[in-house]
């Protein structure tokens, strides 16, 4: 067994109520230490008020080479955007 500390992905929520965002990764022996290290590595300038640490091995990722088939079903569905519809000015704000 390699004695290297496992890798964690760190997510931080900023002060203004936005979602947690991935900021990077780090090595730590366990979750508690991962959060302590994340405090030192990623919030030295008050970048956040909440930290999530997730073992990197627990992340499932989509395959980048299947980008085409994965997302092109959305290509011909522009009606999902409100700008698709022309509403007469007379109707007022909508």
């Amino acid at each position: 067994m390699s004695g290297e500390w496992p890798l964690w992905e760190i997510f931080i929520r900023g002060q203004h109520g936005a979602s947690h965002r991935h900021v990077g990764s780090l090595h730590a022996p366990d979750a508690e230490m991962a959060i302590k290290h994340a405090r030192d590595v990623y919030t030295r300038r008050k970048e956040g008020v909440s930290i999530w640490a997730v073992p990197s091995s627990a992340i499932a990722a989509s395959s980048p080479s299947k980008k085409g088939p994965m997302y092109d079903p959305a290509d011909d569905k522009t009606y999902r955007h409100p700008t698709f519809f022309d509403i007469p000015k007379d109707v007022g704000p909508m």
Partner: protein
């Protein structure tokens, strides 16, 4: 610049795949760790990002040298924060390199046994407090020149690490210049100290960009892959043009008698550093090279029981949690 003389690796991949890869880069797309990439791209990046990471970590040593001797509590707190940032920079970069399939421990071992390098600048000693000013002003200043364009580099994790780093670097340069301003406005002895620091750091700072690479095949490949964004000469010129007026502002003299404004090119003419000295330093024969690696080796060895102990503790905690469930 923290990555010097990074040799690009030859690539023996399928020409069709290579062309498609180059087209993605030319289109400004980011390459992500799971994407297909040429072996040469991957290996060159490991070397470059690793060397950059090692430089951030080894770079803490010459400044760490002055934390306990800073002239005021405020200066001490600021220097401590700066050095702590550099530790963070090293960590961001190690993580970026790790996405390419090398581990941080492996990279550390390669630094310690000389297979990987760190920037030549950190093999020079920091003899006086004014050196803390000169390092922030010149060394971080030169690093910024190189790191700002690297925010647009083609490899996603590297570009993102650079963005974080650049946000923090201008504090580093400003705190250094602030020290220089204070010393230059001080007693004649203090100003002499500032001049002496500039004298010793000027040419080593110019070396940070590496020797001219106008003819280098390695650089051409790295530029095509967008893992090197500018030529060494271009960045060095930019650095000199920016720094000379700052030295004048401080009332200090750049230690180069040939320095002269060249109206035609719109930049300064200046003397090249001693490249023989540079190659010696890069080989590990700089004034502090042995001391730097010995210090890193000691930290690595002395920290082993902590790394192992915390792993054992984590395993034990996991086991008792499982037993309780």
């Amino acid at each position: 610049m923290y990555a010097q003389m990074v040799k690009s690796e030859a690539t023996q991949d399928d020409p069709e795949k290579l062309a498609a890869f180059q087209a993605r880069i030319d289109a400004g797309e980011k390459i992500e760790p799971k994407d297909w990439m040429p072996e040469g791209y991957r290996k060159t990046l490991i070397r470059q990002i690793g060397q950059h990471a090692h430089s951030e970590i080894v770079g803490q040593l010459p400044e760490g040298n002055w934390i306990t001797r800073a002239p005021t509590l405020e200066r001490k707190a600021i220097l401590l924060a700066k050095v702590q940032d550099e530790a963070g920079h090293g960590l961001y970069l190690y993580c970026a390199a790790e996405t390419l399939g090398v581990s941080r421990d492996e990279m550390t071992e390669m630094l310690l046994d000389g297979r990987m390098k760190y920037s030549s600048i950190f093999a020079y000693p920091t003899l006086t407090w004014a050196d803390m000013g000169a390092v922030g002003w010149l060394v971080d200043g030169a690093a910024i020149m190189n790191q700002v364009p690297l925010q647009r580099t083609s490899f996603g994790p590297y570009a993102r690490a650079m963005i974080r780093i650049c946000k923090e670097e201008s504090f580093h340069q400003r705190q250094g210049f602030d020290i220089m301003m204070k010393m230059c406005a001080g007693t004649p002895a203090q100003k002499r100290m500032a001049q002496d620091a500039l004298n010793r750091f000027w040419f080593p700072a110019l070396m940070m960009f590496g020797p001219s690479d106008a003819e280098s095949k390695h650089s051409a490949q790295s530029m095509a892959w967008k893992i090197k964004m500018n030529s060494n000469d271009e960045l060095r010129q930019k650095f000199v043009d920016q720094t000379v007026p700052q030295a004048e502002y401080l009332g200090l003299t750049v230690p180069d008698e040939t320095l002269a404004w060249n109206e035609e090119k719109g930049g300064y003419d200046f003397a090249e550093p001693d490249w023989d000295e540079f190659f010696e330093v890069l080989k590990g024969n700089g004034p502090c090279s042995a001391e730097r690696i010995a210090t890193r080796q000691k930290a690595w060895d002395d920290g082993a029981w902590v790394r192992e102990g915390l792993m054992a503790h984590a395993a034990k905690k996991r086991a008792s949690q499982m037993a309780a469930e």
